[in-house]
Assembly symmetry: C2
Homo-oligomer: 221 residues x 2
DNA sequence: ATTACTAAAAGACGAGTAA
DNA sequence: TTTACTCGTCTTTTAGTAA
């Protein structure tokens, strides 16, 4: 991983136009920009070059710098991070994670008529009796939080056979081409890194998913 | 200015959802994420809190962190930097700089009939006899480089009175509500931090500009 | 498991300097 | 003016430890 200071330095060069072509930079000018000494600035440039992030052409009056492909990639990744912090990806949000084994609870709940009826009526599909459990990647946990503000479909709680069944909420989504929904129980303190998916298809079979396989869930905005 | 490492740390918290609400972070998990020791991670969090960029609620099992408004602003500035590196601002590009005194050359050249005729014909306005010279800010120098790929309007060179006059190119733009054009001489090695503006209006007078006043030039894409 | 201290080790910084 | 070295200083890091 590129060190934070090097990245900061690379960004400055990019702002000066280093991605579009040669930029004249001196240790002093760069130092002023970043509030560091010219010596340190010089060292940073040497370091960036050693990492293959920039190429330098030294002249008497300074150095002409171009950001390499690798350097551009580095910046681009950083940019993607910021985009995922501030924007929802145009039109859809992506959650990534790995398949984990559920506790078999999903299978039980989905088959209870009081829930089943609501799933069919409000989601528009007949859920396969079972859920796909996904452990989200750290970054996806953050993205998932933003989904809280979306239009979740409520599943009402009810009483049957002298037992109370709690409410829940669903968010329609897709895995590959399969329509799905994220289901979150209403009250209980649900772990934030895990989501449960229901779908009319048996996703594990259809997508040939095993434990620890990675999956991508797409939520339309 | 926020230190590069602190910023990196703040970004990680944002990716985990710290902008939308509380995030549970431990020194260890953060350390793993950033490839630093838990001790250092702990120190970073303390530092971020001291700078008012996050608030922390310590519990036995870790700490619950929220990014403050100031923290969000910091990230937002960074995001803006990356946007200006990778995107052209939607619909228009902004160059900023300060007014500097020209050498009076502009006045001379604009009044030469061979040029004057072309300006009128190709730019659609009769230029005031004089140019506004602007020294671009460091960041704008980078942005200006991207403009190289735009559709510049050529001004042909010619010979008159046994003298050759070199070609140039123009890029229509606006300062405030005044239509203008950036003029760049064809051959000569023109300093990259300076642009020359022509306009039908006497901009210095109309906009009450004096030396070192800052100006914003808007180029439509 | 945590956080966060102290103290030793490592590493970065910038002044000075040469080219 | 530059770059980039050396070197002494100071900061940062991490191990160890306590709570």
């Amino acid at each position: 991983m590129v060190m934070a200071e090097d990245l900061q330095c690379l960004k400055s060069i990019a702002l000066l136009g280093g991605l579009s072509g040669q930029v004249r930079v001196s240790s002093q000018s760069l130092g002023k920009e970043l509030d560091i000494s010219p010596q340190t600035a010089s060292r940073r440039l040497i370091s960036l070059e050693a990492q293959g992030l920039i190429t330098r052409a030294l002249r008497a009056d300074g150095q002409y710098i171009v950001i390499t492909g690798a350097g551009g990639d580095t910046l681009s990744k950083e940019y993607a991070d910021y985009r995922s912090i501030f924007e929802e990806t145009a039109g859809h949000t992506i959650l990534k994670g790995i398949v984990i084994d559920g506790l078999g609870e999903g299978r039980y709940y989905v088959s209870i008529p009081g829930y089943h009826r609501q799933f069919v009526g409000r989601l528009g599909f007949e859920p396969f009796p079972g859920t796909l459990n996904i452990r989200l990647s750290p970054a996806s946990i953050g993205i998932r939080k933003k989904l809280e503000g979306h239009r979740w479909i409520p599943i009402e709680g009810f009483t049957a056979d002298e037992r109370t069944f709690g409410g829940a909420k669903c968010l329609p989504c897709k895995i590959g081409e399969f329509p799905c929904a994220i289901v979150v129980p209403g009250r209980s303190h649900y772990p934030e890194d895990i989501i449960e998916i229901i779908s009319p298809a048996e996703l594990r079979k259809e997508l040939n998913l095993r434990e620890t396989d990675s999956v991508t869930v797409e939520v339309a905005i």
